[in-house]
Amino acid sequence: MANHDQNEKPGVFDNPRNVKRVIYGLYAVCAVVFALDIVSWIQGMAGAHELRHPERGWEGFPGFYAFYGFVACVLLVLVAREMRKVLMRREEYYDDE
């Protein structure tokens, strides 16, 4: 194992523009799948049930999965942050056993 020397070629993500590209790519994919969901919902309303076949009404609501995924992850992280206040100890906590 060695630390990097100054002459090495910079990595792809050392360029902040490439990081931005990834993030914008993510936004674009989110927009496209959300749009596709709306289209499929409209088709489902128009009677194309082979394209959209929700088991429950609320599951078929446009953007349900997008909303649920986003909110689930935000809640997950915010609750986990709070858990740290109660559960986190220094790394050597159990070392004196």
């Binding site: 630390n3 596709l36 997008a66 992850c73």
Partner: protein, 565 residues
């Protein structure tokens, strides 16, 4: 003649010769054993043999049927992949131990009766602990000891359960057990310890990250999947398992978000995946049990792949903390790529294996009217992507550049990871090739409908969006060097203090136990590693077996002391 050899014997008995071999011959032999076992299992098809009667009970050594078939294949494949990965292990004890461990897993899933199951259940426990102890050092020894207490505890419960159950049922055949009798409850609890039920799970997240870089790969494959199989065989359709499984999918992901040791993150993530299987078993319909078995099969491959990628990072950098790593995509690009295949598979991206197996369980939950459970599973699915799909590759290979520069993982490790990655993708792209046709029941489910694919892609990319937003706004909790308290704290702190308060004698005795136990296990590990000179082979094997015998005797003594302390 061939058809009367129990498949488990190939790896278990074959392992005995491993310490005698050196160099390429040893490598070839070690890798040939799981392949030979796999060939034997495949040549047998569905069968039952090795029937005997003991104390008036009918026993069946080998039973291969719809439910145990895939598990038998899986454990040979997993052993093969793991052994390729472990070729670089400096611990010579790892190969024979892993072979015995894998063989015991095969024996357990092919056991036709509960007594045979119990025997292999115990071999699983005693062999696997050496994969933790092989790491050497006090930390690994203590973690291994706690692991062993849980595993042997599960074995003891199983034995008592079998006795109570056999007395009432008049049979030890291993079929549907159910929860109508106290024996059934005890047996389920024994299975539940090995399946990492909530509150009984800490042995897993405690010991797996303390094992060697390759040990965790084996550990993640066998013990818990044997337990999943056992639950599916004995307790399919027990409603309580639906809720136990749903809890298992949900609670560990919170820990996974704040955990710093990336192999411990994978440990928590493993409980989450086991939750999907346990839930499917609890639902108990053909679709749900198919889902549980298919997911067990896929999980061994992709979780093995993730543990291998983190093992390779640990092997090269000597570190596995999220707080200390980052930027490794520059020096380990192939490992990073393979890790991301594992990440995509566990996250159930369409065309990766998790998608075609998790959907079976989730579909079944909805069809059977478990709406709340389904919402929990959906929450957990988003969470999996968050902590295993993004966090693992992000903090190891990307994030801020830690400045660590190492060599790419060795060729043998890359080969092992590639095999797992290819199998994960084959199952994901073409589930009807060999996964679906070999499940316990016929599969009529179609995972690749456009609605299903669109909803899954939505949930995944909006989870990624959440990660991105939380990271950019600084709300995402930073990786910190720390430990997080889990339920094992109760044993390790208040109960320990109570033992301390009983007086110095108890602690002095415990110190003696720990020291002598470490001395013995270190001796076993070292003896197994000692190079043999010409003509020294016989003497060496003699001393190894004597050491092992002593270790076994002392282990029994240690465990008794640990329990009565």
């Amino acid at each position: 003649m061939m058809s009367s050899i129990p498949p488990a014997a190939v790896m278990i008995l074959g392992a005995v010769l491993v310490p005698l071999l050196r160099g390429r011959l040893r490598t070839a032999y070690v890798l040939a054993l799981p392949l030979a076992g796999l060939a034997l299992v495949l040549s047998m098809g569905d069968t039952e043999f090795g029937k005997t009667t003991l104390f008036g009970y009918d026993m069946t050594l080998v039973r291969i049927d719809g439910l145990s078939r895939l598990f038998g294949w899986l454990f040979h494949i997993a052993a093969f992949i793991g052994l390729i990965f472990a070729l670089r292990s400096p611990r010579n004890i790892e190969h024979p131990v892993a072979l015995v461990y894998a063989g015991a897993a095969v024996g357990a899933v092919q056991a036709g009766d509960l007594i045979t199951l119990f025997v292999f259940w115990e071999i699983l426990a005693v062999s696997s602990v050496f994969l933790v102890w092989a790491r050497a050092g006090e930390r690994a020894f203590r973690a291994g000891m706690r692991y062993l207490v849980a595993q042997v505890g599960s074995g003891a419960l199983l034995l008592v359960g079998i006795l109570v159950y056999a007395d009432a049922a008049g049979s030890v055949s291993f079929g549907d057990i159910g929860l109508d009798s106290p024996g059934g409850w005890l047996i389920m609890l024994a299975f539940g310890i090995k399946a990492a039920f909530p509150m009984l799970h800490t042995w897993l997240t405690d010991a797996y990250p303390e094992s060697t870089f390759s040990g965790a790969v084996f550990l993640s494959a066998f013990t818990t999947k044997v337990a999943v199989y056992a639950l599916a065989r004995g307790f399919a359709g027990e409603d309580v398992l639906v809720w136990v499984g749903a809890a298992m999918t949900s609670f560990p992901i919170f820990y996974a978000v704040i955990e710093n040791d990336l192999r411990r993150v994978l440990g928590y993530s493993m409980i989450n995946q086991l939750g999907f299987m346990v839930c499917g078993i609890g639902i108990g319909t053909e679709l749900a049990v198919n889902g549980a078995v298919a997911h067990a099969f896929n999980d061994v491959l992709f979780k093995g792949l993730l543990f291998m990628s983190m093992g390779a990072v640990l092997y090269r950098t000597g570190n596995i903390n999220g707080s200390d790593l980052g930027g490794l995509y520059k020096s380990m690009p192939k490992t990073a790529g393979l890790c991301m295949v594992g990440a995509a598979s566990i996250s159930a991206f369409p065309l990766f294996s998790g998608f075609v197996s998790k959907s079976l369980v989730m579909g079944a939950a909805l069809y059977e009217g478990y709406d709340v459970v389904w919402l929990m599973l959906l929450f957990a699915s988003a969470g999996v992507f968050h902590h295993a799909g993004i966090k693992i590759p992000f903090f190891a290979f990307f994030s801020h550049d830690s400045g660590i520069r190492v060599k790419e993982a060795p060729g043998s490790m890359l080969i092992a990871m590639t095999v797992a990655a290819v199998l994960s993708m084959v199952n994901g792209i073409w589930p009807t090739l060999f996964l679906y046709p070999n499940l316990p029941y016929e599969v009529t489910y179609q995972p690749f409908t456009s609605a299903h694919v669109i909803s899954q892609i939505q949930i995944l990319f909006f989870s990624a969006l959440a990660f991105c937003g939380l990271k950019l706004t600084g709300l995402y909790p930073p990786e910190l060097r720390s430990v997080n308290l889990d339920v094992d704290w109760i044993v390790r702190r208040p109960l320990r203090r109570f033992a301390l308060s009983l007086g110095g004698a108890g602690m002095a005795l415990r110190g003696l136990v720990v020291r002598s136990g470490m001395a013995v296990t270190n001796r076993v590990v070292r003896t197994a590693e000692r190079r043999t000179g010409p003509g020294g082979v016989l003497e060496r094997t003699w001393s190894t077996s004597v050491s092992v015998l002593w270790a076994a005797a002392l282990l029994a003594f240690l465990l008794i002391l640990y329990f009565v302390r």
